[in-house]
């Protein structure tokens, strides 16, 4: 039976000799491989994509290493819109004002300021300097804002400058740049005429779109401003000394920064860029990085490692957005009401997302937003939803009646391509199927295709998220105004528009907050959207690293005031 292949069995010496040869070949190959690796390393260093390996916290050099999930596309503050640009810019730039460690407005490059209904005035300090030693002047701000508003710049965040007089018209190209309502009577005084009263204008100038740019340097970069470390100037506590694309950024202390006393770290090494949270957790475990975010699946490992786990709200609201276009069955109030009455967001947060930072959504306005004096949601509590299966079924029957349908046609649920979106849409599908018998078709799309479908209205419901642009309820409040392009479901209600106008045009805090409260109620009553949860972050920080700040707006994570405590455990 086994003598089908006799040639080897009866030639043991041949096999042995051949095996010996193979072994020698293998040894040769290993030597060659090692030599080749040295060669490749030498070649690779010529091109320069490499990580500067360091420890998570280096007490001697007063430096830390961190990881970010995505690389900033570029660091021109007039164009930046994403979180990682915001994070880096928050470390290397400073605007007129800044947010303190306890989230209060404090002087930045401007040492004092004054905002009235028609005008804002900033007095710049004389010791604020660019990273090349040249003084920061009011003209640098004016130049930056004009650059952002110039139609050719096509800045997506230019709308944040619209409180400035004529800014919108300038941005739309109907009038010239010189008509913009900003003046510098001298190098250290900046006067801004306001288009309309904006109660929170002083908070808005902390945002990156309001950061300065220096004209001579900007022009010299010939459109490449912010593309590389040497193509930028800095006003903040750190400067970027090296930026290896896709691999690392090295932030070092800015010797020309005016407020040296506040800064402790000498180096922040952004040593790793990867979107994989588990990989970042491994880097943390291996003492390579000083901070990382935990996902639900990593919590048990973090507990086992006895790490000090922290949590914080990140300010983003996730919600189920309905399509209110006339052709869609989700335009029917009763259908939306039926859905609202059965979807238990507590189950979603406690059983499905399973992260301690998450809070079940109750309102269009997340809990962190400021109100008249304290928090908006404490002053104006969100309407309480009482889930009711029986009522939901009644509303569903009404919906079928009004729509003249025997059955509600399958609803398309548009969802993103992340694992989180998968889980949530699967959960929602099952809930609506079991409780209401609704057929939900999950339409999983990658980013750009999802956006295309959202814009064209090719969905019934969509899992959406909204992060704040500035520290005022209006950043959420105007979302469902009929003119807002981010109102993807085309919700169109004169009452809503009326309330948004009131909130936009008043400076009286009480009036505005009342308007937001009415918007909150209207969004609930008319089921404009279904708030799902307020996202949180659960994270761990190296025990020797102290005073790290998480922010809802601006740089998150903020290491500007962090320090190393050699005794920390």
């Amino acid at each position: 039976m086994n003598n089908r292949h006799p040639r080897n069995e009866n030639e043991p010496s041949f096999t042995q000799s051949a095996a010996r040869q193979l072994l020698m070949l293998a040894a040769g190959a290993v030597v060659a491989l090692v030599a080749l690796m040295w060669l490749l390393q030498a070649l690779a260093s010529l091109v320069g994509s490499s990580t500067t390996a360091a420890n998570a916290v280096d007490v001697q050099n007063n430096s830390i290493t961190i990881a970010i999930s995505t690389e900033p596309p570029q660091l021109n503050s007039t164009l930046a819109t994403d979180a990682s640009s915001g994070m880096i810019l928050g470390h290397v730039m400073e605007g007129l004002l800044r947010m303190s460690m306890d989230d209060q407005l404090e002087p930045g490059i401007a040492e004092r300021w004054e905002v009235t209904e028609t005008q804002a005035k900033f007095w710049l300090r004389d010791n604020a300097k660019w990273s090349d030693g040249v003084a920061v002047t009011a003209h640098d701000f004016i130049f930056a804002w004009k650059t952002a508003l110039k139609p050719e710049t096509a800045s997506e965040y230019a709308f944040l400058l619209y409180p400035i007089k004529n800014a919108r018209a300038v941005n739309e190209g109907t009038i010239g740049l010189d008509q913009l309502g900003v003046y510098a009577p001298d190098d250290l005084t900046l006067i801004i005429d306001l288009e309309r009263p904006v109660a929170f204008f002083d908070k808005m100038v902390t945002f990156q779109t309001y950061f300065p740019l220096r004209e001579d340097f900007y022009l010299q970069t010939a459109g490449r401003y912010g593309a590389d470390a040497q193509e930028m100037l800095y006003t903040g506590p750190f400067v970027i000394t090296s930026w290896v694309h896709g691999a690392s950024l090295l932030l070092e202390r800015n010797p020309y920064y005016w407020d040296q006393a506040q800064i402790n770290l000498s180096t922040i090494n952004v040593g790793y860029i990867t979107a994989d949270a588990t990989a970042r957790l491994n880097f943390f475990k291996d003492q390579r990085i000083a901070e990382t975010v935990l996902l639900a699946e990593n919590l048990q490992e973090a507990l086992k490692q006895r790490w000090h786990i922290r949590r914080e709200q990140d300010g983003t609201l996730f919600f189920l957005e309905f399509n209110h276009r006339p052709s869609r069955s989700t335009r029917n109030y009763h259908l939306r009401r039926a859905i609202q009455l059965v979807v238990d967001m507590e189950e979603l947060v406690y059983k499905v997302t399973k992260l301690p930072g998450y809070v079940p959504g109750e309102s269009l306005f997340p809990a962190w937003l400021p109100g008249v004096e304290g928090k908006f949601r404490e002053e104006f509590p969100a309407p309480k939803l009482q889930l009711n299966h029986q009522q939901a079924l009644e509303h569903l029957a009404l919906a079928k009646q009004e729509l003249g349908l025997q059955d509600i046609p399958p609803l398309a649920l548009l969802a993103g391509d992340s694992a989180v979106a998968d889980i949530q849409s699967e959960w929602l599908q099952a809930v609506l199927k079991t409780k209401l018998g609704l057929e939900i078709k999950i339409d999983k799309q990658i980013f750009k295709q999802r956006l295309a479908k959202m814009t064209s209205g090719d969905f019934d419901m969509v899992l959406a998220g909204w992060g704040p642009d500035y520290d005022d309820p209006l950043t959420f409040g105007d979302l469902f105004a009929s003119w807002n392009l981010n109102n993807r479901g085309r919700y169109n209600n004169p009452d809503m528009d009326q309330l948004v106008s009131v909130a936009q045009n008043s400076v009286d805090a009480a009036t505005r907050m009342q308007a937001f409260s009415d918007i909150q109620q209207l969004a609930f009553d008319d089921i404009v959207l279904l708030p799902m949860y307020e996202r949180g972050v659960t994270y761990v920080i190296h025990p020797k690293l102290k005073n790290v700040k998480r922010r809802v707006i601006g740089a998150d994570v903020d290491f500007t005031r962090a320090y190393i405590d050699p005794e920390g455990v």
């Binding site: 041949f14 091109v47 490499s50 164009l79 990867t274 491994n282 880097f283 291996d286």
Partner: protein
Amino acid sequence: MTRYILKRLLQGILTVWFIATATFFAMHAVPGDPLSGDKAMTERIRANLEAKYGLDKPLMTQYGIYLKNIAQGDFGISFTQENRKVNDIIREHFPVSATLGILAILFAGVGGILWGALTALYRNRLPDTIIMFLVILGISVPSFVVAALGQLSMVNLNTFAGFSILPIGGWGTIWHMIVPSMVLGLSTMAYLTRLMRSSMLEIINSDFVRTAKAKGLPATRIFSQHQLRNAILPVITVLGPSIAAITTGGFVVEIIFAIPGLGRYFVEAVQQLDYTVIMGTTVFYGAFLVFMVILVDILYGYVDPRVRVS
């Protein structure tokens, strides 16, 4: 020979042109818009952006401009990395992917040939069984599982040792290259082992080996000159396409090991519909691949006189 190579190169250029054309139109046929973002933009801004990237022109004009630009070696400016030239992206990140890929291929090639030859020699005996079991294990686990497990075991090893034996991510020194390139090369190594084994078995039975033995050639010469050399042929044939697969397929490893390779940029570009980066990387890889195929064909002719080009 020179004429042959010249002819192949000319054909290669034609192939690359076809690749560029097909990708260009496929890309524009995909719905979605490279300019859109999480937050909606006004018509005015959108028009400005379209003008900036030349998307306001008719498609055929864009195609013409694009061809003219790539003929001059200019791939344009990325849509997502707003101020970076695609040429720079390729120049900075391709060497990383290539290094990783070459190492992985070498690990795979050397390993595959050695293991394959060994299993053939010890056919149906213990070494064969053990290696083939490992091979099957190696190919039956998806790359992201292998990468994650590889990284995790390295972390645990480092923790256990109390110092960092090998880095678990990042890029720069040869120490950074070892784990990721082994992870990347694993499935190819398994594949080549199988291929080598089967090809080796065929050679062992062939007439010319029998003749060589009959005429009393020493075993060492039979093995290295006749068996090994001939058995490597099919392995070399698949190496060409594997190089392309590995250098483009490094995405998972690049993400998990935080390596600044081009694979990451390419996958992200497709998801973000970054027209210029998709085109740039596809054309570049296409050219690279065509060149590799030509190289392999020449190499093949060298190793195997029977198919030597006339």
